[in-house]
Amino acid sequence: MSLNVIWYVLFVIVIAGYLIMDGFDLGVGILHLFVAKTDEERRISLNSIGPVWDGNEVWLVLGGGALFAAFPLVYASLFSGFYIAMMLVLVVLIMRTVAIEFRSKEQNPRWRSLWDTVFFLSSLGIALLLGVAFGNIMAGIPLDENQNISASLLSLLSPFALLVGVTTIFMLALHGAIYLTMKTEGNLQARVRKWIPRLMIIFFVFNTLVVISTVLQHQTITERYLAEIWPIIFPALALVALIVAAYMLRQGRDFVAFLASGAMIALLLFSAAAGLYPNLLISSIDPAYNLTIFNAASESNTLTVMLVIALIGLPFVLLYTAGVYYIFRGKVKLTPQSY
């Protein structure tokens, strides 16, 4: 395997890490207005992600850094071409951080419900924007011979991209709901449990629509699947993971269900990544302008150094991530230090 392929795989893994880890705390943000009714329940929801959301968001920062380092030409084209969309991502990221941090600093109910709404809207916004961006990447974008993307915000909001956006919202809401069942008890947990089957069905329907319209409309991806049939294993396993999650929830084994839901998210991303390979950005103007993992990558010297850094760093990351989750395991208990 060449360095470029290794870095493509690593980059996809980092993005999968982001979607799984930050995915559940975005999901909690999307759901908490609907399932948590009292101030105490809201606080429990918020504190279920309290000690970990910040570490989870680092996966996104790392994804940006890895893209910049490994595929700088993609990073430059994507971020400048999606200027206004990226600006909106920044706004919702900032608002979300602030909402989590500021919400419980005042007793006033209006202050708290204001920040609860901001927390909801920003979590929803991040999920939607990520999905829309991803939908555009799958569908292809107007990338010209100078590697510039000339797309207005409105042109990014195609029906397909919006469909992927809505699917992402439900995927993360489902993931967050399963997480919340692990961390809560009593009425709150009962309400979350009632939401899960609905979310699962809606997500399944939307995801099926995404698959169908991808097959019908987006030939680059379909051709890849037809040429090399083995990547079909990713969507197939994703379906298995969803079924496992549903089954385990009925058995009351929430933690296994949560792992299955995380696996499903990763497998769906791998399905799309296998379909895109070796392209990172597909030009809708001329396939000759596509940015691939070969023509958009850094030189082998940088990729080698980065690989060494990743191999040293990632074990530590996994070690202390596991440690933190272990220390904060179990149901949420509010203390004077909580949000």
């Binding site: 850094g65 890895a66 430059a76 600006m87 602030v98 000339s150 980065m306 203390t335």
Partner: protein, 465 residues
């Protein structure tokens, strides 16, 4: 509207706003580690009470740092796409390394630091705090490394790429250890510790003036004061001076702009205050003869190269660079003065806690240290102009080619509004915390300290009760 000018303004705004917070994360963090060590060694509960109070402040500051920090990582691609294409091989690698080494360390342990006070024993809590603070310093290290490469690039070669030249890494060691890296890193770390110390001094002095939490405030003040005194003096005579020598050696035209030196001259004077007339090419003000030659070359007869020795199109904005630089060094001098007064009243007459005018000076010191740190960063960045990467890439050539003025005007407007609101909320909440003051320990402890897990063995070994 000109997208380049707006993008410059936007980056200056967002980077400056962000740079309010990381120095506190490092400096206040260092003091929290010191206080944690004192508590573990003495067991006196007042230190634990001080820790609980400052950890809450730390959480607020850290959240602001996180919220405003990710912006820069996006902006390199959004506004400076040509720059990103040019430096991706090198600068991108350093940013990614920061993410994987430093941010995960901070992100992983921050939860334990903020919420672990009554779930962990004192030693484990101290370890978590240390890890977060270590991560913050490590993060600064990678950023300084990346920025130092932009100031004094090394270990690269230029290759043609599809959209223009690209800098490609030839030696990772040279990229990491550029000549300006160590002097700049030490200068920034010391400055950050001074900011942290002055924050603790400021709040403690205010409590003392208001006669609240007198015992706790005296204790915190006694920890922070020696730190501030030692650092402000060493910063002035060693770390800052060392930084100036580095600039002299590697960026002489930047030094000329910082001091407003037009003609090359031996026994060059150093201005205390002054004004640069760029049209007339003159600098007027109050100066000390020969001091610049001495500071730059340790020889009063040494020749300092003037701006006229360089083509005018590689001059930084001279008066702007001059002013922000002099703001920094004058504040640095003021900190030495405040330190000497503080040490005098503390050690010699032992009545600093009754000297109200001096306590008031300390109350305002946090604003001054923040301003000094910011103006230092401005000196480095304004002084590097017109280059974005020193002598390799002009800032004007680094802009994203497809940006329109209205797009950038929208984002600038959004940042101005968003950051104004954030800043007001931040000050409001910080003030609330300070007014509220440290909690009684009985209000924060749910279990006695002795029953909290205080080693990895207790945390990972015992089954959940």
């Amino acid at each position: 509207m000109n997208p380049e000018l707006l993008s410059r303004f936007q980056f200056a705004l967002t980077a400056s706003f962000h740079f309010i917070f990381p120095p506190i994360s490092m400096g206040l963090g260092l003091l929290l580690v010191i206080i944690g060590i004192i508590y573990v060694r003495t067991g006196n509960p007042k230190w634990r009470q001080i820790s609980f109070f400052w950890v809450k402040v730390y959480g607020l500051v850290f959240a602001m740092g996180i919220a405003t920090g990710i912006v820069q990582e996006f902006e390199f691609g959004m506004n400076w796409a040509q720059y990103s294409r040019f430096v991706g091989n090198i600068f991108g690698a350093l940013l990614a390394a920061e993410g994987i080494f430093a941010f995960f360390l901070e992100g992983g342990f921050l939860g334990l630091m903020l919420f672990g006070g009554n779930r962990l024993g004192p030693r484990m809590w101290l370890l978590s705090t240390f890890m977060v603070v270590f991560g913050a310093h490590f993060s600064a290290l990678w950023i300084l490394m990346a920025n130092s490469w932009m100031q004094t690039p090394a270990g690269y070669t230029i290759q043609p790429g599809a959209t223009g030249p690209q800098a490609v890494m030839t030696s990772f060691a040279e990229v990491v250890l550029t000549p300006s890296f160590f002097p700049r890193l030490l200068h920034v770390w010391v400055a950050s510790w001074m900011v942290g110390a002055s924050l603790m001094l400021s709040v403690s002095a205010w409590y003392l003036l208001k006669n609240r939490y007198v015992d706790l405030s005296r204790s915190a003040f006694k920890v922070a004061l020696p730190v501030f005194v030692i650092l402000s003096i060493t910063q002035a005579v060693f770390f800052g001076a060392n930084q100036a020598i580095e600039v002299t050696n590697y960026q002489p035209v930047k030094l000329a702009a910082m001091e407003g030196v037009w003609e090359s001259q031996s026994c060059a004077p150093m201005y205390l205050v002054g004004w640069v007339n760029e049209a007339e090419m003159t600098t007027t003000g109050i100066s000390i003869p020969c001091l610049l030659s001495f500071l730059a070359y340790q020889n009063i007869n040494a020749t300092v190269t003037g701006l006229e020795a360089f083509p005018a199109d590689v001059w930084a904005p001279v008066n702007l660079t001059f002013q922000v630089y002099h703001l920094m060094i004058n504040l640095g001098g003021l900190f030495v003065l405040i330190s000497l007064l503080g040490a005098l009243f503390f050690f010699w007459k032992r009545r600093i806690f009754e000297t109200r005018w001096l306590l008031w000076i300390f109350v305002f010191s946090i604003g001054l240290t923040e301003l000094a740190t910011l103006s230092g960063w401005w000196t480095a960045e304004f002084g590097r102009q017109p280059w974005i990467v020193w002598e390799l890439l002009l800032t004007a050539d680094a802009i994203s080619p497809i940006l329109t003025g209205s797009q950038v005007a929208f984002s600038v407007g959004t940042f101005v509004v968003l950051y104004s609101i954030l800043f007001i909320l931040f000050i409001y909440l910080l003030n609330e915390k300070i007014q509220h003051g440290p909690e009684e320990l009985s209000a924060v402890e749910e279990k006695p300290v002795s029953s909290l897990p205080d080693s990895f063995r207790e945390i990972f070994g015992k089954p959940r009760a």
